[in-house]
Symmetry: C2
Subunit: 408 residues, 2 copies
C-alpha cells in the first residue's frame, strides 16, 4: 500500500512551498537562500532539535512557538546559521513575524530554521524585504518543492526531497519532505534540516510520538563526520486534509502512518549520507546476530563513523581489520572470535573475516565490490538475533577541500 | 633539576637497544622492522594497554608475563599487528622465547609488541631467524636508540624519542623512551607504542601507579583520528641502577620521579600528535575556567577530535564557530554565553569570540597565526578555575591518501 510518489514537500493536500534568493548568501546571487512552506489550514506540529549544548537562536524561538503543538508555516534560510550571533532570537522572531504578516496568521504559528556560517549577524533586512516575493511564489507543485529544497542547501551537491502515499483508516494519506545535510551530519542530528508535511489527521501528541520514533531509526542512524551542529532540526506539519479519522492513540492507523513516515525519513537520511561532503560512496553497515538492537546500533554507528574505515572505502581497500577495530572501541562488549564480516555491493559479495580471523579472499573481486557507489558492510556478531543498519559515507580529498576554507 | 638529555631509550644506565630489518615488512627491504630493548639486570615493569575489546595477541601474552611485575626486555615489530590473525598468541610467545634464548633469560621476562596490518599471519620465521643479528646489534648509544625508534615506525614520518634527567633522593636518575604513533591515535591509546626505560629504583607497584598517572595526562590527551587500535601499549622498565633509595610509596621521591615521567611522556605525546598521518599542524587546545579538570579535558578532547575543526586549521581558517560547536556536543553542560575563544601561535594571539558571540577580528592576522606549525586554541569557559590541555593535528589530503590504500 505504501509507495513513493512525486511532489516532495507539496505532495500532501493543502501544502504550498517556495524558494527564492533574497541575499543572505552574498557570494552567490544566483543561489536560492530562503524557503517557505505553508499549509492552507492550521496543523498539528512537532519538532526534534540538536542535542548540542550550543543551540542556534531559531531553536529557542521554535520551542516557544511549538508549546501549543500547532503551526501553519515554516520559514528557513541558508547562508547563515544565526548561531552565536548578535540579535539571534530577535531576528529569528522577526523572520516568523514577516512570514506571518504576509500570510495573515500569528507569528507564533510560524516555525523558523537557519543553516550556514556560525557567529555572523544574519541579514534580517534582506529576508524581510524578500518575504512578499517569497509569498507570491508559493505554489503546490513539483517545481515549488524543488525550489524550496534548493533554498536550504549549503554544501549539499544535490537537493533532497521525497514523498510517499499510504492508506490510513481507509483514506489515502500523503507525506512529503525536503531536507539538507552534508557535513556535520551525525547520529543525534548533525547540521541537517528536514521539513516534513502530511495531510494525515493526527493529534499533536501522536505526531510528536511518531516523529521521535522515526528520527531514532533514520536520521539518528547516519553519520558523515561525527560533528553535531548547533542548528539541526526536523519538523513536521500535519494538516488533516486527508480526512481520515484523526489518530489520537496507538493502533493500526498509527502503525500505518508510522511505517510511511519511517520509509520517507529513511529515504531522506540515506540521501543525506550519500551526499556527505565530498563523498563518493554510500556505506551501509548492517550488524546482525547482536545481543540487542541497541548493541547492534552502537556497533554499526562506530563502524560507519570510523575515519579509518571511511578512508579505506574511499580507496576501495577491503581492510576489514579496521571494521573489527571500530567494533572493538564502540563501547559494547562482545567476543571478537564470533564475528564474521562480509563486503557486498551490486558487483557481488565476499566474506573477508570468519570467527574473528582473516580469510584468504579474492582481492580483485573485493576491489570491484568496493568500487561501486553503494557499498555494504555486513557484520554478524554471533551473540543473539537483533540487528540494525546505519548509513555513512567515505572521506575524500574533497571533504578536506570543502571544509578547509568554508567561510571564505 | 629536570632537564631533557640525549640518548633516547638508552639514556638510562644499563639499557641497550637495537633495531634491524628481518623481513616482516616485505615491501620495504631497507626499512627496519624489529626492535629489541634490554636491561642488564631484571627490572620492575608495568604496562598500559588498549581498551579496545579486540586486542592483539601480544597484549594477552604481555599480561601473563607481567603478572609478577618483572621483566628484562621488550621485543617489538612493525609491519604486522599480529591481531585477528592465525597463531597469534603462539607466535607472540615465540617472539619472546627467541629473544629470551639469545639473551639467556626466561621467556616470561620478555614483553612483546606488534604494529601494522591487522588480520595477516605474522612472519614468525623471519623474526626468529633475525634474533641473533638483533642481539649482536645491541648497544647503549644514541645510534642504537635511533635504530630501535625507526624499527617500530609504520606511517610515522619521523622517529619519536626523548630522554630526561632528574634527581631522586639525591641521585641522578635518567628516563628515556621511544614511541610510534600516527593514525588511529586517540585518547584511550590509539595505535601507539611507547617503550620507556629508567634506572630509577622503584617497586613494581609504584612504577605501575606512576605509569597510570602519566598516561592519563599525556597519551590519553592526544587524538589524531578518533580510532582506537587493537595494539596500543605503553610499557616501562625500571632497573634500579641509579642507586637511589627504592621508591615504595608516595612521597617527595615519587613526586620527583612522576614529574620526570610526565615531562618525558608529554614530549613524546606531542611528537605523536604533531606527526599524525598527513598532519601539517600540531594543535594544542587549552581549556581554562572550567568547573573541573575532567570537564576541561572532555571539552578540549572534543575540540581537537572535531574533524571540522581539524579541516579548518588545515585551511588556516579562524572558524571559531566549529570550536564552540565541538564544545557543545562534548557531553559537558555549560553556558555558551560565558565562553571566550582565542587563537595563538608564534605569530601572535587573537580573540575571536567573547561571551559566546563573534568578535570583529583581523582576518589577515588570524590567517598568519594559523599558518604556523604549532597552533593553540585557547578557551575560557568562565565557570570555575580548572584547566587542561589536549593535543591533536589537522586533517589533510595526505591523511586520505595514506589511509585510502594502506594495505597495498
Amino acid at each position: 500500500m505504501l509507495k513513493f510518489i512525486t511532489g516532495g514537500v507539496c505532495a500532501a493536500e493543502g501544502f504550498r512551498a517556495a524558494g527564492i534568493h533574497v541575499g543572505v548568501k552574498t557570494h552567490a546571487v544566483w543561489k536560492r537562500d530562503v524557503a517557505l512552506i505553508v499549509s492552507d489550514v492550521e496543523c498539528a506540529a512537532a519538532a526534534v532539535f540538536t542535542k548540542n549544548v550550543v543551540k542556534a537562536a531559531p531553536i529557542h524561538v521554535d520551542r516557544r512557538h511549538l508549546a501549543d503543538g500547532k503551526a501553519r508555516a515554516i520559514i528557513a534560510n541558508s547562508g547563515n546559521a544565526n548561531a552565536c550571533a548578535p540579535h539571534g532570537e530577535e531576528y529569528a522572531e522577526r523572520m516568523c513575524a514577516a512570514a506571518a504578516g504576509a500570510l495573515g496568521c500569528e507569528a507564533g504559528d510560524v516555525l523558523v530554521s537557519s543553516t550556514g556560517v556560525i557567529g555572523q549577524t544574519i541579514n534580517i533586512r534582506a529576508i524581510e524585504s524578500g518575504v512578499p516575493e517569497l509569498c507570491a511564489a508559493l505554489e503546490r507543485s513539483d517545481r515549488a518543492s524543488d525550489a524550496a529544497a534548493h533554498a536550504i542547501m549549503t554544501t549539499d551537491t544535490a537537493k533532497k526531497e521525497a514523498a510517499v502515499e499510504t492508506v490510513v483508516g481507509g483514506r489515502t494519506v500523503r507525506l512529503g519532505g525536503i531536507a539538507k545535510g552534508s557535513g556535520m551530519i551525525h547520529p543525534n542530528m548533525g547540521t541537517m534540516l528536514c521539513f516534513l508535511t502530511t495531510d494525515c489527521a493526527i493529534s499533536p501528541e501522536m505526531i510528536k510520538t511518531a516523529l521521535l520514533e522515526t528520527v531514532s531509526v533514520s536520521f539518528n542512524r547516519i553519520s558523515v563526520d561525527g560533528d553535531t551542529s548547533t542548528n539541526d532540526s526536523c519538523m513536521v506539519l500535519a494538516n488533516g486534509l486527508a480526512g481520515n479519522e484523526p489518530i489520537t492513540a496507538r493502533g493500526p492507523d498509527y502503525d500505518a502512518f508510522l511505517s510511511a513516515l519511517r520509509a520517507l525519513c529513511i529515504r531522506l537520511a540515506k540521501e543525506m549520507a550519500s551526499d556527505g561532503e565530498g563523498a563518493k560512496h554510500l556505506i551501509s553497515c548492517t550488524v546482525s546476530g547482536a545481543a540487542s538492537e541497541a548493541c547492534a546500533e552502537t556497533v554499526a554507528k562506530s563502524v560507519i563513523s570510523s575515519t579509518l574505515t571511511k578512508a579505506a572505502i574511499f580507496g576501495a581497500d577491503a581492510n576489514w581489520g579496521r571494521v573489527l577495530c571500530a567494533m572493538g572501541y564502540s563501547g559494547e562488549e562482545f567476543d571478537p572470535e564470533k564475528v564474521d564480516v562480509r563486503f557486498a555491493s551490486a558487483a557481488g559479495e565476499i566474506a573477508v573475516c570468519e570467527k574473528g580471523r582473516g580469510l584468504d579472499f579474492d582481492e580483485e573481486l573485493a576491489k570491484r565490490i568496493l568500487t561501486e557507489h553503494d557499498v555494504e558492510i555486513l557484520i554478524s556478531m554471533g551473540e543473539g538475533d537483533a540487528s540494525c543498519t546505519c548509513w555513512g559515507c567515505d572521506i575524500t580529498y574533497d571533504y578536506i577541500r570543502i571544509n578547509g576554507d568554508y567561510r571564505t
